[in-house]
Symmetry: C2
Subunit: 318 residues, 2 copies
């Protein structure tokens, strides 16, 4: 009895090989569960991230770019807590008759998994009306370490690893011509995942978050979780366009650049700068400071002592 096995085989073959291997992976794709042996004296950091066609990426974007972006966006959560990547599980929902799509998607996933050194541990493929990619990533942290959103304290600096806004400004191009994979759309399709730098920050930073909902929205997440205000200096924020550009506001609210926003004591400045240079993050710098709370996690953007206001602070799915 082997009728109708072709789709099982197709999917199994597409995702079966070519991923980075790791000795801690005892059982990968193909059984009921994956089995991983975590390094001793570590904790397990995990995150799950879903990307929906037409919501998070254009429906007709090339499959390998969709795959790469989905894995990068998910892995960025590991960077935000300072974890070392261990692997990922994939849940893929596909419209029918997408055999060509699967091969191209699998290629993009494999290439990105290699670049990030993340083995594929397992997955589930289902049929649905819309392409949906869910990635569950995991990594390890040294015992009792890990960057968290709630640890920002008044008096600390606010840092950003690099410019925000490139992905937001690439969006019209991405929507008009989803297959265009150039330096402008690269920020959108291939966001840098700061895994190595995030891990270096473990002993240097207090709170951290990856900028996925927009700088202002994610700054608010830290401020709220920590019970503080964040004051940002407009002129210190590295952005895709200068402050005079009509799209400057969009850079601060547009999300999706996956830079790390973090807070740290001023005593750590020199070491953070050294780590940033080592990691090649030439635009990493201080963009503001942490203050006693005056509200439910306020984020104030100032320029020459004036508070700027924004109509929109970040992306909302609903």
């Amino acid at each position: 009895m082997s009728a109708n096995r072709s789709e099982f085989d197709l999917i199994r073959d597409a995702f079966a090989s070519g991923y980075p291997e790791a000795e801690h992976v005892l059982l990968g794709v193909g059984d009921d569960c994956s089995v991983v042996a975590p390094p001793s004296d570590t904790t397990l950091a995990q995150s799950i991230d879903t990307q929906v066609a037409g919501v998070h990426f254009p429906q007709d974007a090339p499959a390998h770019l969709i795959a790469g972006r989905a894995l990068r966006c998910a892995a960025s959560d590991l960077a935000a807590v300072g974890a070392v990547g261990q692997g990922f599980h994939l849940a893929l929902t596909l419209p029918d008759n997408q055999n060509d799509f699967i091969d191209d998607f699998a290629r993009g996933l494999r290439d990105t998994a290699k670049a990030l050194n993340l083995p594929l541990l397992g997955g589930d493929t289902t049929s649905g009306k819309q392409l949906i990619v869910t990635v569950a990533v995991q990594g390890w942290l040294p015992l009792e370490q890990g960057l968290k959103r709630h640890k920002a304290r008044p008096g600390q600096d606010v840092w950003l690893t690099g410019p925000v806004g490139h992905a937001a400004l690439a969006l019209p191009t991405v929507l008009a011509n989803p297959a265009q994979d150039d330096e402008h759309t690269a920020a959108y399709y291939h966001p840098d995942v700061h895994l190595a730098f995030g891990h270096l920050l473990l002993s240097l930073a207090s709170a951290a978050i990856d900028v996925s909902d927009g700088l202002l929205q994610d700054a608010h997440h830290i401020a709220r979780a920590s019970g503080v205000d964040l004051s940002l200096d407009a002129q210190q924020i590295p952005t895709a366009v200068s402050q005079e550009h009509p799209q400057w506001n969009a850079c601060l609210s547009g999300g999706d650049d996956y830079q790390l926003l973090f807070t740290a004591s001023s005593s750590a400045r020199d070491r953070i700068r050294a780590c940033a240079l080592t990691a090649g993050l030439e635009h990493c710098g201080i963009i503001g400071s942490v203050h006693e709370a005056t509200g439910d996690g306020r984020v104030i953007v100032q320029q020459n002592g004036q508070e700027l206001t924004f109509e929109r602070t970040g992306y909302q799915h609903f």
Copy 2:
């Protein structure tokens, strides 16, 4: 800046509390990653499982039943490897304007999480055309243990924990009246998850799988992975209806009962029977035997020495 926060808040609140707590969970819902401290000298077993509205459950099924079923189906993979449950992550894709749905869904998820003692570790909620529930479950295994599909050996017994077919036969009722939650639809909405029994099997069984694609299809998965044939005795297979019933074939190919199908040496028979009684599995019994391979994982169903043939062996998503 706190505009448009209502949906973030709604979702956060719906899933924020009421889940079983566990000391190994160091950081749960609300940060970039969850952080879990695995027990020492264990490995981590994980699985990801997606359920799509209109494919895996009726579109208009009650939200709490959808949630409970999704978590049970995913957790069943832990049972199939013998793992002790540790927690789960949820990725939920929802059509717009589903506020009522979220509350009812969260209630069902919470109740089931309590019943299975699985803390909610984290999640992601997105907007899409179709309701899609992805659950990533995890559990722990003692070092160098774990039931796997490829360990069936010729001469061993084939066991099944209980009857198959109830969920398949409930399907017409479920489709006609998705809200009907009675003893017939219970097998569909609330499949038993054999976590405790699966863990007991660690030292007794060789290969195991949970029956989700249909008994014959899942038996084939074991046979193929192990490089053996499985011979099943039609009269020994516990089914929802007797063999004379026109729906008997559907019981063997219908999937979705989440019984455990496993293989074990005959020397383990008495201990397995004792464990099954302890776990309340009165219908757990031997349904066949493992043989040298004569093909690519053949599954033969025999009755009085005659081989039965089936047009359909299991459910296919594509």
